[in-house]
């Protein structure tokens, strides 16, 4: 079993791209069911953590800026670390992620073994 980092990204800034309150409510249930399903297989590798939506960015000249992130449209909505045999299984799990329904994406990264 390997550990995989799943990073959930979508466009949180563009007003037209935002879900309605009802859609958000529905999305919350989908998230809980999705995480519940992963946890039911004992495949959550770490406790889940909520992340603040605003965030800061530190640029090469050490200037700290607030979001929105002008260079890229998407920002990180959250992340989770799960257990899976390989990339194939991890991606199969990621295909159930509710962020996909809101036009977002999931980046999947396998933890490197300690050398």
């Amino acid at each position: 079993m390997n550990e995989f980092l799943l990073i959930f990204r979508r466009d949180f800034m563009n007003k037209e791209a935002q879900p309605s309150p009802d859609e958000l409510q529905e999305s919350l249930k989908l998230w809980q069911n999705w995480f519940g399903g992963i946890a039911a297989q004992d495949k959550l590798a770490r406790p889940l953590q909520r992340w603040d939506g605003k965030g800061k960015v530190v640029t090469p000249n050490k200037v700290v800026t607030n979001g929105p992130y002008v260079e890229i449209k998407e920002s990180i909505g959250g992340l989770a670390i799960i257990k899976a045999a390989d990339y194939e299984e991890a991606c199969e799990i990621a295909k159930g992620c509710p962020i996909l329904l809101l036009g977002g994406n999931v980046e999947v990264r396998m933890a490197s073994p300690i050398e």
Partner: protein, 413 residues
């Protein structure tokens, strides 16, 4: 009440109180001395009461005799008294030479018991031993009763308890309620032990229903001791109490007279104890907090939904979300199986089958029972195969009987 019933009843309620107070005074190293003095007291009661009749205030009589026996013991063992006087931290005003006060006031009994709870629930001894010791020292259960509850023999329990006492002595565990700073970490262990004690009564395969009820009642009494103390009256403790109230409200409905299990859907709701349900709601309300959400909160929430017999979309959606959160907090196979059952109620059997087959709990008979259940009316041939596999894996007679019923129901269709 005749003396024949009175003494065993008093033994159950008072033995552990006096032992706690004496241990609190002497320290856990001298637990045998405390136990000897209290046993002597009860022996004296048996002799005296059969000759002279039962005194007006039997409990008061026991306390007075226990106090005198303790004082006599200390006089006879002046070395022990000197050592004790030097170590006594509880009684700062105690001057050398003055008599040691044996305080059997309600307040000191409660403090002593609370201190003993934290001493017994110490990670230096195994969870199994903690439960046995808790039953013995905190609940006044005899070795035979504990053996019956664990479905084992007296020697095993006797050894287990003695080994646990030795370990507490070796580790020189102080009998005290921890300070506010460490209460949360220590309390977690205490709650785990109390919950195991409760489960031993609630889910035990023992056919002795009275004993099982006593175990549940004792777990609730210990939890109530924690609630009564301001420092230990935390949201988690209240949530655990709520959970136990909701569960025990169904105690009389979930078994027939032969001690056989009656499934939830077949239970007579008239036998559900409404008073306990109301108490459960009260404690769940007390447990609500913006900062803390423990597994006891989630389990109490699930138990709360089960106090409504009727199925409704809100009920199963509520249960599903609580199980989701419970699993995210802490994985357990039984929560995974129950979550999948709740999912079938919300999203239908087809969806639940896909999720169930991902669980892979292939050595668990409940897993195959769940699959059998989900496949029933969808693919009865598959359902039958799963139930047969469950029957193969099940160990207890009551589980086997339950699965056999399901198989019989399918075969007649």
């Amino acid at each position: 009440m005749t003396g024949n019933q009175l003494i065993p009843n008093l033994f159950r309620t008072e033995y552990q109180k006096i032992v706690s107070v004496l241990c609190y005074l002497f320290g856990i190293e001298h637990i045998e001395i405390a136990e000897d003095i209290v046993s002597d007291t009860f022996l004296a009661a048996t002799e005296s009461w059969s000759l002279h009749g039962i005194p007006d205030n039997p409990t008061g009589w026991l306390y007075t005799v226990a106090k005198n026996k303790t004082k006599n013991y200390l006089k006879r063992n002046s070395l022990f008294e000197q050592k004790l006087s030097a170590e006594l931290k509880y009684n700062a005003s105690l001057e050398t030479g003055s008599e040691i006060e044996i305080d059997l006031s309600p307040k000191n009994i409660t403090d002593s018991q609370l201190g003993m709870i934290f001493t017994v629930c110490n990670p230096v001894i195994s969870a199994e031993s903690q439960i046995a010791l808790a039953l013995n020292l905190l609940c006044g259960f005899g070795i035979q009763e504990i053996a019956d509850a664990f479905l084992t023999n007296k020697e095993v329990v006797y050894k287990r308890i003695n080994r646990a006492k030795e370990k507490l002595k070796e580790a020189k565990i102080k009998i005290e309620t921890p300070g506010l700073a460490e209460i949360n970490t220590r309390l977690e262990m205490v709650l785990t032990t109390i919950y195991l004690l409760f489960s031993e009564g609630y889910y035990s395969t023992s056919k002795n229903i009275t004993l099982r009820k006593d175990l549940c009642a004792e777990a609730m009494r210990l939890t109530y001791l924690l609630i009564e103390n301001t420092n230990t009256n935390t949201p988690a403790v209240n949530a655990l109490m709520a959970l136990m109230c909701f569960h025990t409200s169904r105690f009389d409905a979930r078994m027939n007279e032969e001690g056989e299990a009656i499934l939830y859907q077949d239970q007579d709701t008239a036998l559900w104890n409404q008073e306990l349900i109301a108490k459960g709601r009260y404690f769940l309300h007390q447990a609500s907090s913006l900062e803390v959400l423990t597994k006891y909160h989630l389990e109490a929430g699930i138990a709360y939904w089960h106090t409504f017999k009727e199925d409704s979309p809100e009920k199963w959606e509520g249960i599903l979300q609580l199980y989701n959160n419970l699993l995210i907090l802490q994985y357990s196979p039984i929560a995974a199986l129950n979550r999948t059952f709740a999912l079938s109620k919300v999203k239908g059997k087809q969806t639940a089958i896909i999720e169930a087959e991902k669980l892979g709990l292939t050595n668990n008979h409940f897993y195959y029972s769940l699959l059998g259940n989900l496949y029933t009316d969808i693919d009865n041939k598959q359902a039958l195969q799963h139930f047969e596999k469950a029957l193969e894996l099940a160990a207890s007679e009551s589980d086997k009987a339950m699965i056999a019923k399901n198989i019989a129901r399918l075969s007649t269709h």
